[in-house]
Amino acid sequence: MAKKKIRIRAKLKGDVTEVKALMSHPMETGLRKNKKTGEKIPAHFIKEVTCEHKGNQVIVANWGVAISKNPYLAFRFTGAAKGDTIKVSWNDNKGESASAEATIK
């Protein structure tokens, strides 16, 4: 398994916090074939991404195979302050998961 990294940027502008997250994941659709062997590459994709701020779920993303490799997600929410911690975690169809935290700037 490749490195399960999540890069997060969270920035406060006025009263709105914009969060951008970039995850490393192959996001295999299960439809692609290995060119050498002709065998199908099994599906491997992130199903759910959760973002929490102070224990509250700010957003839950339900993803299918149509999300691009190394997914990117951005969203905005209100009610946060500078220095707060934001946590992003995902789990995929193979039961793997990862999470990361960042401080709102």
Partner: protein, 154 residues
């Protein structure tokens, strides 16, 4: 205090993850569990029904879809959906001609704005349909995206 709420959040989310991946939970039994039926659906209407509870959405000019008119690489199409509607609690994106029409659906918290940006795969030229649930009603907007993989035209 901070630590406590943080721990609480960690436990619930990781437990959810474990339970969901083990297949112990049916999609409807837990809030925000992965809607399997929506991703099994082969039509936009079927996916919408399963993900958002209804397949009747009225078209709205208040939803903005930012996506390229022509996508040179169908594997990475950046899209941004934004709306100023109040009480938006869910946003979903459908790509009509994909094998699985639903690309993603988002459950938004009370403080979350109607704004989503991500990157999707598109098999071929297709309509991109964004559906927003606001105040229990569904609103949709469409945008055609041309896909030209390998310059073969679309």
């Amino acid at each position: 205090m901070k630590r406590r709420s943080f721990l609480k959040g960690t436990v619930t989310s990781s437990m959810l993850g474990v339970a969901a991946s083990a297949g112990l939970l049916t999609p409807q039994s837990v809030l925000a569990a992965w809607p399997k039926a929506a991703f099994d659906a082969k039509t936009v209407d079927g996916g919408m029904e399963a993900a958002l509870g209804s397949s009747s959405a009225s078209e709205s000019g208040d939803i903005k879809i930012k996506a390229p008119d022509i996508a040179e690489n169908g594997a990475v199409v950046p899209i941004t959906i934004s709306t100023n509607m109040p009480d938006v609690d869910a946003i979903a994106v459908f790509i009509e001609k994909n094998p699985v029409p639903i690309a993603c659906s988002y459950d938004l918290g009370a403080t979350t704005k109607g704004f989503i940006s991500c990157r999707v795969k598109m098999g071929k030229t297709s309509d991109l349909i964004a559906v927003v649930r606001s105040g229990g009603k569904l609103y949709s907007a469409k945008k055609m995206v041309k896909v030209t993989i390998g310059g073969c035209g679309g």
